[in-house]
């Protein structure tokens, strides 16, 4: 029965895909009366004519959740992140606030500029790894394990300080261009039993339906994102891994070189869109 049911679902999915192509919704994203850039001219060399936030691909009721920060479940995580920001941890007796004081000032546009080049490690660094770097080297605290402890809420809190500001990635620093190249190669590489690349869905077929799911451009400006499916904040590397898993491939470790390269490349593709953290998606 299970098999037949799946077959039926697959067949109806094929029909749906054949019939339904829907443009992203014409609407303006305003959060608590602050206008967000949810459509932007794409960077030079970008394969798509316009960069469009995933918000435009969601239903009315999902979109509405993001326009009111009170109703956005992700803000529970942001508030938890604020508490962590002010909590002393580690052998040095410091909190984030001990050095960085008021995040609204010190982190005002920081989240919009990650990932960026990290000279010490000779690799790009994202907000999660920057937090760990601070915890280990300045606070004498343990690094957060992937998606554990305060990693998601604190990352969301820091990125939320850049809410509304355009995502920018500086490829001129260090070897960022090489990491971009590697990320691009991974973006277009087909993988898994379904033989799909990132581009198969998010570049060539965005705007179409994969079964009942309206495919977006796969922009990363809203992470960590509040997903209704989990009722929780979902990190970018979790989403990368979920997407790769769904192609039925083995997925790389979080913060591995492959996923860091993919973060550099997909962040470049999302350039110009406002940081929406925490975005609300299905």
């Amino acid at each position: 029965m299970n098999y037949s049911y799946k077959l039926a679902a697959l067949l109806s999915g094929v029909l749906t895909t054949a019939v339904l192509v829907a443009a992203p919704v014409e609407d303006a994203l305003t959060v608590d009366d602050v206008d967000m850039i949810s459509r932007a001219a794409s960077a030079e060399g970008h394969p798509l004519p316009e960069v469009i936030s995933g918000w435009h691909y969601r239903t009315d009721s999902t979109r509405a959740l993001q326009t009111d920060s009170f109703e956005n479940g992700g803000m529970l995580g942001v508030e938890q992140g604020e508490e962590i920001w002010n909590t002393v941890e580690g052998t040095e007796g410091k909190s984030c606030a001990s050095c960085h004081d008021d995040a609204a000032v010190s982190m005002a546009s920081v989240g919009a500029l990650f990932p960026k080049w990290h000279e010490e490690s000779g690799k790009p660094i994202n907000v999660e790894l920057q937090i760990n770097d601070c915890r280990v080297n300045n606070m004498g605290a343990e690094a957060y394990k992937f998606d554990k402890g305060g990693q998601k809420p604190l990352t969301a809190f820091i990125k939320h300080q850049s809410h509304g500001q355009p995502v920018t990635v500086d490829l001129t620093e260090g070897d960022m261009q090489q990491w971009w190249d590697k990320g691009k190669e991974l973006y277009y590489r087909r993988t898994g039993q379904l033989n799909l690349s990132c581009a198969s869905c998010h570049e060539k077929n965005n705007g179409k339906y994969i079964r009942a799911d309206h495919l977006s451009q796969g922009n990363v400006n809203g992470f960590p994102t509040y997903r209704l499916k989990q009722g929780n904040l979902i990190s970018l590397h979790n989403r990368f891994r979920g997407c790769i898993r769904d192609t039925r491939a083995e997925y790389p470790a979080a913060f591995s070189d492959d996923l860091m390269a993919l973060e550099v490349y997909t962040t470049w593709r999302s350039q110009g869109l406002s940081v929406e953290t925490p975005a609300v998606r299905q």
């Binding site: 009170f70 109703e71 479940g73 803000m75 529970l76 508030e79 938890q80 209704l228 009722g231 929780n232």
Partner: protein
């Protein structure tokens, strides 16, 4: 983890105003329908009751079943005739109660 509930109540109103109140609280709302990796049912653990009182009088309450989403959200109305205190409670299956208060003044 007992996160602070989020509550939206206007700070002031005119006597006789009907105001909108919104509440959101962090809770997994484990339905009792899910199974873990070993196939064992994960026991139900939800917030089963929400109440809102104003100066000791009931304004609104809700009996909650496992079909309410994670991080329960409620929006409702209250008629305010005098200044005072709204008291909110969320009752967990484990018997714990989360309480919060908000003041409102009359302009």
């Amino acid at each position: 983890m007992a996160a602070k509930p989020r509550i939206k109540v206007p700070k002031k109103a005119s006597a006789g105003d009907i105001i909108t109140i919104k509440t959101l609280i962090s809770h997994k709302m484990e339905s009792g329908q899910r199974k873990d990796k070993e196939g064992k049912v994960i026991p139900r653990k939800i917030i089963n009751k929400f109440t809102c009182e104003f100066n000791g009088n009931s304004v609104f309450s809700c009996d909650i079943d496992p079909a309410i989403s994670a991080n329960p959200y409620f929006e409702f109305k209250a008629k305010v005739n005098e200044a005072g205190t709204f008291k909110f409670t969320w009752v967990d299956d484990d018997g714990s109660v989360i309480e919060a208060e908000k003041e409102i003044t009359i302009s």
